[in-house]
Symmetry: C2
DNA sequence: GTGGGTGCAAATAATTTGCATTACT
DNA sequence: AGTAATGCAAATTATTTGCACCCAC
């Protein structure tokens, strides 16, 4: 869509690789990791390097274009939807899903009041077994 | 106190290193990382190795004796208080605190209902600036 | 034209693992 | 005695960085 505009609006230099990485993230609900982004972008830019993907998702995260979801130690995934919302991940199949239904807006201000912190960011993550994986026993 | 009993009750082999590591975690509110646990235990067992600390906190986490708090990529801290409760960390000084006041028990069951997952674990983490660090401008 | 981005390979850093030795039950 | 834990050092793995070349502005 307008990934190029999103970059230009923030004064980020526009490159085809960046447009493609942003596009991948904006057009999936899969919450891909760096490897998955890399594989997908590679189909269009076979020469792209993993380092570029790492650098780019880091830049986009700083700029608030995407958000990082930190799963188990040593593995992050990325979400093109940037509003703060909880996530849930299946401990068996590894899938990550958004939880739209859970309203948590009021929690942050309650936290500010009770802790005296200025709150900038929240991460609400649930871990369990998804419907599919529950069915297959365990 | 009764760290030895806590280990024995779970059928975990009791060693002085394990008692000491558990004791460190049960007697602080600092949410120390592996390095901090290592330094502190080293005062009593100068020969202890980092690997032992890593292995032990992993074991204790599995056994539910402590809980892991995953901060930025590549850094975990540990909490001797094992009930599920939110945490808040200061982006400037790195301190981690418990948020006792925030009641989140009802959220998990609401998540189970809306997602169809069987929820086993939750992580609720806030990031911001603590009272101290806010005062020093920036 | 110039500064910043990309691709490559080497470097980093937290964590883990293999193995010989030592300690718990 | 037998099994499992410890300490050490080497291995692992996600991520990062240095650098030469190329591209967007």
């Amino acid at each position: 869509m307008n990934e190029e505009k999103a970059l230009r609006d923030r004064g980020i230099k526009v490159t085809p690789q960046r447009i493609e990485i942003l596009s991948v993230l904006k057009n999936t609900r899969e919450h891909p990791g760096v490897d998955q982004i890399y594989s997908q972008v590679k189909e269009i830019f076979p020469a792209i390097s993993l380092a570029t993907v790492y650098n780019t998702v880091e830049l986009f995260t700083q700029e608030g274009l995407i958000q990082e979801i930190r799963l188990a130690r040593g593995f992050s995934r990325y979400d093109g939807s940037v509003g703060s919302h909880p996530h849930i991940t299946c401990l068996k199949c590894g899938k990550v899903e958004d939880i739209e239904e859970l309203k948590v807006e009021m929690l942050a201000s309650s936290v500010e009041k009770s802790t005296g912190y200025e709150v900038l960011k929240e991460e609400i993550m649930y871990f369990g077994y998804c419907h599919e994986c529950k069915r297959l026993d365990n």
